[in-house]
Every structure is written in C-alpha cells, then in structure tokens.
Symmetry: C2
Subunit: 149 residues, 2 copies
C-alpha cells in the first residue's frame, strides 16, 4: 500500500554518536521508514522530539541534500546564521556541500514531530561545527581522523 504504515516501523531512540555526544539526542524517537516503504533513492525519517531533545548534533552533509518538514509542535532550527522557529507546515532545506551546520532543538514543553528526507546519502560525509566529530562512510572519527576508543 502506498500509504505508509508508520506503526509498522518501530520508534528507535538509539544513536551512533559516541559519548558524550549521544546525550542530546536521547529524547529523539526515530522511524526510518524509507526501506519499509520500498524507497531506495530517498532516505526518510519520521521523528518525534521529546521536550529538550535535539534532532542531531549540529551537522552538514557533503553529498546528501536534506529536507525537513514540520508536522506538529515547535522546534528551533539552529544554523550558522542564527535561530528560526519552525512550526507545523514549515520546511527547511539543506543543500549538499554547504558547510552550514544545522539541527532542531525542541525547547518547548510538548513533543514535536517532523519528517526528514534525503537523497545522495551513499558515501556521504560531513562535519559537526560545535564538537570534535566527523562522519563518513566508515563511521565517526575525531577531527584529526582518530577513532573513538
């Protein structure tokens, strides 16, 4: 069925971020539904942020375009040029190769819900302007290329 059965993809709160960078996303519940829906060219995540949670560490992508569509609640989009309140119906776009770190913070007292969609993820890499972390096809490293022990 083309209508996505979100309930078929469980919410997952795990992250690959090495400590201490994982703490900020502990309240992020993520449904990675593209594969379940049969999509292979699009990445798609249905995300609930509990109050206080971040969508990710502030990051940018070298190869992948990214789109965020707010469905419910409020979040603050943080990027290099400042902060922007995002509400249901608002959309944010992050072109690949633009080194403008971005993420969403739920500073409200209620859950917020958004969908994050991407294309070009294969072999993607990028960075995190606020912390000593890089990502790439082989996983996470520090900025000097050393792995996390």
């Amino acid at each position: 069925m083309p209508k996505v059965d979100l309930a078929a993809t469980p919410h997952v709160s795990r992250t690959g971020y090495p400590p201490p960078h994982d703490a900020a996303v502990a309240g992020r519940l993520n449904r990675r539904f593209a594969a379940e829906a049969g999509l292979s060219l699009l990445g798609a995540n249905h995300v609930i942020l509990q109050p206080g949670a971040w969508s990710s560490q502030r990051h940018w992508h070298r190869l992948a375009d990214e789109l965020v569509i707010m469905l419910a609640g409020e979040a603050v989009l943080v990027e290099d040029s400042g902060e922007t309140l995002m509400r249901a119906g608002d959309i944010a776009a992050f072109p690949h190769g633009v080194e403008n770190g971005h993420h969403l913070q739920n500073r409200s007292k209620a859950e917020c819900v958004f969908v994050a969609i991407s294309a070009g993820d294969e072999g993607d890499s990028g960075g995190y302007p606020d912390i000593d972390l890089l990502f790439g096809p082989a996983g996470f490293t520090r900025r000097d290329g050393t792995p996390f022990a």
Copy 2:
C-alpha cells in the same frame, strides 16, 4: 536561510498535460521550491489542491522515487488497489519502477495542502493507466508514441 521562504516561489497552476487531460488539475496550485532552496538532488513541490482538483493524472514513475506528505486538509489517494483517505501527517511512498498509478483527489469542500518530494527524476519516464498518455524526457506522447498535435 535554510527555512524555505515559500512566498518566494509563486504558486503556478499551469500544467504540461495536453487537453483534455489538463482540466482535472486546473485547481492545483504548485510551488516548485527545490531549486530556489538550493537543492539539486531532491525535487520538491508544495501543492494546494482546491476543492475538486487532482494532484495529477494517475501516474507512475520508472526512475524516480516519490513521497507525499499531507500538511492540511484531506485528499483521497487513488491507486490500483483502491482508495485511501489522507489527512494531515499522513505519508505515502511510491517506489520507482512500480507500475501502480497514483494520484490525490480533493473531494472535500476545503483546500488541502501537501508536499511532494522526489529523487531520480533525471531521464524519468512513466505512464498513466487511465488515459492514452505516456511521459518521458522528451515530453508527452500517446501510447503509440505519436505526439499530441
């Protein structure tokens, strides 16, 4: 700015469909915002359907994955296996190469709003199960390959 300024991309109601296939989408107002937002790997349309309007003729894509995210109002998703009511927060996914024609019909008395996102559009082609029409990189033809006069 990563937050998409939808007002910067005017609504357009035009379609490339040859008559009489254009009539059903006359009440479709489309903002094709990906290029304005700097995206090149994702196609993105913010669409308002007036009461009675269709999102498109019922179609499928040979090369492009497609995702539809309902933002407001109601529409009926029509595809080979039947009809499904879509409301704000609902998502539908259309994997490339699956010949399951689909579209949205606004049968309600109020506008509805959705976002349609795609990847893999370059060189895309496909068909329309209900009418004598094909699309491809060179435009529209009848099923026998002849152009519309």
